[in-house]
């Protein structure tokens, strides 16, 4: 789901550069020979453009389905068999197009298997939302849950605590909410399937209970510092993010990890 982020310094990420780029390499090793070898196996600009456009159309159609976008599926369906070896090049080109046209980036989740569309446009006050009404409501619920889990630290949140928290917001486990429908299904299935939440089963006194953590899609798609600021606004005017030391440090770490990912991408 798209999430606004404060504008970062314009550093040419917007793919307005039309010049031919040098050898792209997504490999972990930066060795010269490996780079040279890869630069010999590249699609022509015309083919790259054509396939990147296909990937973009595919990603857009799959977006908002509430399911993770599998890299493998993209490769299988959007690329033709003879292009299987050029996945990284095409995904990179698709990312460039998505940023340029939609202001969204195509991120690879840490599991290296799933992809996620993330909004890169700066948040503008009073501008209309980027999401439709029903999506906005779901997003609001998700942010509330993510905030709860984040504030609880590494331990995650057990299901009981989660429902007690949500009921205070007027969202009840067994209710058929007018917007969300079956809330329990939304939280324990849809959010988890999409990778925003991760659930673990644990047996406590012979009973199986669920425990929730941030999922990979949340780590990649949600700005933790923004989230902390959001939590502060709920607490009141005098509260600053820095006052929650442990959480603030962790939020900064997540932010730094994201910035490093961005830098690594730009260097390619």
């Amino acid at each position: 789901m798209p999430r606004g982020r404060p504008r970062q310094s314009q550093n040419g990420t917007r793919a307005t550069q039309d010049d031919d780029d040098g050898p792209l390499s997504q490999s972990l090793s930066q060795s010269q020979s490996q780079t040279q070898r890869r630069s010999q196996r590249r699609l022509s600009p015309v083919e790259e453009e054509r396939l990147a456009a296909r990937v973009v159309r595919y990603v857009l159609a799959a977006h908002g389905r509430g399911e993770p976008l599998r890299r493998e599926k993209v490769r299988r369906l959007a690329l033709e068999p003879q292009h299987g070896g050029y996945v990284n090049q095409v995904l990179q080109a698709a990312d460039v197009k998505l940023r340029d046209v939609f202001g969204m980036s195509l991120e690879v989740l840490p599991n290296k298997r799933d992809l996620l569309l993330v909004n890169q446009l700066p948040v503008v006050e009073n501008a209309p939302p980027l999401l439709a009404e029903s999506e906005l409501q779901k997003h609001g619920l998700l942010v509330a849950i993510l905030a709860l889990i984040f504030m609880s630290g590494d331990a995650g949140v057990d299901e009981d605590t989660l429902w007690r928290f949500l009921s205070k917001l007027g969202v009840h486990k067994d209710h058929k909410h007018e917007c969300f429908g079956n809330v329990r299904k939304l939280v324990t299935e849809e959010f988890c399937r999409a990778g925003y939440l991760r659930k673990e089963e644990e047996v406590v006194k012979g009973v199986t209970v669920l425990r929730f953590f941030w999922g990979d899609a949340a780590s990649v798609g949600v700005d933790a510092v923004d989230l902390l600021k959001f939590v502060c606004t709920i607490w009141g005017d005098e509260v600053e993010p820095e006052q929650w030391q442990e959480q603030y440090e962790r939020a900064l770490q997540l932010q730094e990890a994201r910035e490093q990912r961005e830098q690594a991408r730009q260097q390619q």
Partner: protein
């Protein structure tokens, strides 16, 4: 507060990107809705028709390279303009696979067939549900809800028809598979799914209700442009 100071109507920038993201979650938008959206996005800078036209032109030039287009169609329900972001790369199965499962696609194809080949160009919600073959009714119900939400189908008084968005996007598909059921309206030249059949035996012309309405307003009578016979007033 962030201000997008470097945005202009005719140079693709954050306003246009914001618009594109909005269109992703809003597959079809009315002319009024479009005007409001663009106005809100631009902090009320884009207000008049010329500016909006330029804005849309800038968007269309940009998305062309992606095999997409922002098309305008007239609703077969009320004749009002509807804008939709559509895929112009023609019958791409891969895109359909991204949005729907195989079972869902089968159902969708059956729905389209039923709607397009019907006399009125629509079917009852009940009939739509009964088309669900090998799919639990609850799933079909859920899928129908989603199809209406995403502007593939349009519901009026418990009857389901193709949304303007669907007609814009699926035109090549409809022409290929149901050519004789979607003749071009004599007035506007666009294909007709929901419309009025000429009563004259053997004529077969079908025209949009709103196009015939315009003719009535202009000329006082409604005549089939194909066979020149007078068309009686509908109830």
């Amino acid at each position: 507060m962030e201000m997008e100071v470097d945005c202009t109507v005719d140079v693709y920038g954050d306003w246009h990107r914001h618009f594109m993201q909005a269109m992703l979650s809003q597959p079809a938008i009315s002319a009024d809705g479009l005007k409001k959206l663009v106005g809100d996005i631009s902090g009320n800078t884009i207000r008049d028709l010329d500016q909006i036209k330029t804005f849309l032109l800038t968007v269309r030039s940009k998305v062309h390279s992606l095999g997409l287009d922002l098309k305008k169609g007239l609703s077969e329900r009320d004749g009002r303009p509807v804008y939709a972001l559509i895929n112009t790369s023609g019958g791409e199965e891969t895109v359909a696979c991204a949005a729907f499962s195989e079972v869902q696609l089968r159902y969708l194809r059956a729905l389209i067939q039923e709607v397009v080949t019907s006399v009125r160009g629509d079917i009852s919600a009940m009939a739509a549900l009964n088309l669900a073959d090998g799919m639990p009714k609850a799933d079909a119900q859920e899928l129908l809800r989603r199809l209406v939400r995403d502007c593939w189908l349009e519901e009026t008084d418990s009857r389901l028809a193709l949304h303007t968005r669907a007609i814009l996007e699926l035109e090549p598909y409809l022409l290929r598979h149901y050519g004789e059921h979607v003749p071009r309206c004599q007035m506007c030249g666009k294909i007709t799914v929901r419309g009025r059949l000429c009563e004259q035996d053997g004529c077969g012309a079908k025209n949009h209700h709103h196009c015939l309405g315009k003719m009535r307003d202009k000329m006082g009578v409604v005549k089939c442009q194909k066979c020149n016979s007078l068309m009686t007033d509908e109830d």
